[in-house]
Amino acid sequence: MNIKINNLTKTYDNQIVLDNISLEINNTSTIGIIGKSGCGKSTLLRQLAGIEEPDGGEIIIDGLSPITDKIEFQKSIGVVFQKHNLFPHLTLKENISLILRKAKNMNKQKADSIAKQLLEKLFIENEADKRPNMVSGGQNQRCSIARALATDPKLIFLDEPTAALDPILTNEVLKAVNQLKNEGINFIFVTHEIHFLKQFADYIIFFENGIICEHGDVSCLQNPQTTHLAQFLGGI
């Protein structure tokens, strides 16, 4: 995947969260975003996924802009939100099949069976007929990954996909996303898990005070160039 960001800016009520960010990354398949809590990682992800409009700047991801080609761009992405954002009145299966019926014009039967397969892929097929408030945070999180897969995306955004998971499940998710990576799907993700980051990211972006403090190949975690990143890594 190729990403180009030019002078990206986002402000909430006079608080500058993204401060004139520019960046170009080519030929990479997984990008991990790290930084302190509240530094704007989710905000960056929302702008990249076209969920929010930035105040200024340009983004081009594989030839499409999430700002100006939003509809076209969003057809080929999946998003896993920090809070799972499943519809509370639908079962896990219905949450996925509704998206399949909508995005791929499937009939209910076909959508249900594919939804089942996706849930199996994330080991939660036994929870298929429960609603989100009846299952654990980790199960919801995995359902939300399954939903992101429903549209056959080429690129998936993950906002702390393992935050609600225990180490064993984190490994399961890691296995699942690594397999998807091998199938050719690209990822842009936010994580606090250094292990997950090292195992999954090709490229990392370290974010602080609204600017990109350091970025580069995942190997830069071994020998950070800035004291900020060194301190951050020392802290976790």
Partner: protein, 242 residues
């Protein structure tokens, strides 16, 4: 004291007070004269229920249109809906009924008092139902709209699959409370001679020179309908919040 016992005592005390009033505030009460016309009473009772249910259904529909209009992104649609609601909510039902029967009826060539009366009640209630929808729709949080927009749901799909199914549960108790308001409001329809409970009782009691008895019977009949409804609404509200 236990909750159940307390309620039992409260109910017994109030019932006795009401019975005392019904039997001992009038010299020589003649309820027999009023109950003689039980056929008329039943007809009146049915008319009240019918008018109220029709009004509920119609005002649910008009209230929903109003609700959608108030949520509209088009400023002009929004403005018309908001001002309309304000005017209606500031208008006494009595005036609404007169306007419907003597002005609007003439304009649209309908002279059936029942139809026009129900129309007035419907208009009067629509903003209250719109408010009920507004409260109910708040259960759909911002995150859900983010997901709907990400998958490019059309406006229809948003309401059909996500918003309306979640509105139903919180809406039920307030629908029933509104039905109670409608039933009480329908008592005013007698001023344009719709033969509901209150009209029928006015007729019977003036025929028999038993005005106070008439009002007492009327009161009890309304309580018989509205109290169970209120209990049902409380029960549903409790179930819904779980």
């Amino acid at each position: 004291m236990k909750k159940g016992t307390s309620f039992l005592i409260a109910i017994l005390v109030y019932s006795s007070l009401i019975l005392l009033a019904v039997f001992f505030t009038i010299d020589n009460p003649r309820y027999d004269l009023i109950l003689q016309d039980y056929r008329m009473l039943i007809d009146g009772f049915i008319t009240t229920i019918l008018a109220s249910l029709i009004t509920l259904v119609c005002s649910m529909v008009i209230g929903f249109v109003l609700f959608l209009a108030e949520r509209s992104k088009h400023n002009i649609v929004h403005a018309f809906a908001v001002v309309f609601s304000e005017i209606i909510m500031g208008t006494p039902l009595l005036i609404m009924i007169f306007l419907a029967v003597y002005v609007i009826g003439g304009i649209i060539f309908i002279s059936n008092k029942f139809v026009l009366g129900v129309f007035a009640l419907t208009l009067y209630m629509a903003p209250y139902l719109s408010n009920a929808y507004k409260t109910a729709v708040a259960v759909v949080d911002k995150d859900q709209y983010i997901v709907m927009n990400l998958y490019h749901f059309t406006l229809f799909e948003k309401y059909r699959y996500i918003i309306i199914p979640q509105m139903i549960r919180p809406l039920l108790p307030s629908l029933i409370n509104n039905l109670s308001s409608i039933i009480k409001g329908s008592a005013l329809l007698r001023i344009v001679s719709v033969s509901d409970i209150s009209y029928v009782l006015t007729v019977i009691s003036s025929k028999n020179w038993a005005a106070i008895e008439g009002y007492y019977v009327m009161w009890l009949l309304y309580l018989i309908i509205t109290i169970p409804l209120s209990i049902l609404a409380k029960y549903l509200a409790k179930k819904v919040s779980i």
